[in-house]
């Protein structure tokens, strides 16, 4: 069998740029409630940071509001600001959750752009 000498990398790291507005969400059953934890990849720029490459102030860029709905009923909503850490993380607790429930997380940034995420709970 011919041996291949690979000159260029076959194993290229997927997504070298960590994608903005990606969300990672986990639900787990606890004794009397359900843990809902999620993290959204977002720079949450305060507008005070200086970009070292071109020596300019990086403009404000942050998530301004976020809501969680279960089966299209809003159960939680929030207003955030640039005082929230980069890659905002939230741990919430839901009282009742059933298999088949649809969790939606929607968020809006300071430029009024809307982002949506939906997850159907399979087994819980």
């Amino acid at each position: 069998m011919q041996q291949m000498i690979l000159k260029s990398p076959l194993v290229v790291a997927e997504k070298k740029q960590l994608a903005k507005n990606d969300i990672r969400l986990k639900v787990s059953r606890k004794e009397n409630f359900f843990d809902l934890k999620f993290l959204i990849r977002h720079p949450m720029e305060t507008g005070r940071r200086i970009d070292k490459i071109n020596n300019k102030l990086v403009p404000k860029d942050y998530i301004a509001s976020l809501s969680v709905s279960i089966n299209d009923k809003v159960v939680f909503d929030s207003h955030l600001s640039r005082s929230v850490s980069k890659n905002p993380f939230m741990h919430l607790k839901v009282q009742k959750l059933f298999a088949g429930d649809i969790i939606k997380v929607n968020w809006i940034d300071n430029k009024n752009k809307v982002y949506k995420y939906k997850k159907t709970i399979n087994e819980i």
Binding site: L10, K15, D22, R41, H91
Partner: protein, 248 residues
Amino acid sequence: MFKKNIQKFFLNKHSFPLESFIHSGLIFSNDSMEQYNSIMDFPPFQDHIDRGEKLFYKKIFNNKSLSSCLKIEENKNFKYPKFDTKKLKIITLEHQINLCLAELNHKKWKHNDPFTMGSVMAFIKSKNKGKTLIVDLPHVALDNFNNGKELYFKRIGKMNLACSSCHLLNSGKFFRDEQLSPTIGQPNHYPIFRKAEQYYSIQMRYQLCMKSVGAEPYELNSKELNQLEFFHSFISSGIPINGGVYRR
């Protein structure tokens, strides 16, 4: 004997069990430990570890992957860095990964690239969390070991400090706002993500330390840093490992 003595020194100085030295400087403060646990519950750098997992198991050549080449999961202990008695050279985990990539006819990875080497390093260490670090010291490795020991005790840079100045003699004391971590257990928990995002391997951290005392740092994978890592890891044998963890 040297390892036993140095571990005894720290166990007497700081009354914590040997296993807890995996947490390095965090053992001195419950407050710090709690913040660490909170962030590790859902780390912002999880993406790197997940990417590392994909790269580790991906079949690259001849139906083989890094996993099949490294065979780390089969060992009940964690045995890197190690001394290759045939080639008479220190093999760090990064170096072994590149040797495996060469075997798989693949281009080498840079030791400090968080998207390739860094991701796989963080994944491997976190997957093998809890395993005991065991570094063997064969007779032929003694020269390298002793060189590493010398480097550890050598004063360098404008500030004229050695690793031992801070981490042996003054562990537990405060230097500015940092509580100095004890030497044993430090390599066990690398690589780290500083500020929850910046990747550092143990050798990259050595370089940072050297720069902060005003010295010119050695190159990554240089003879010197490999010897230092080998010595450092040997005296930390017996302490469990972790990796891909948060640091301030």
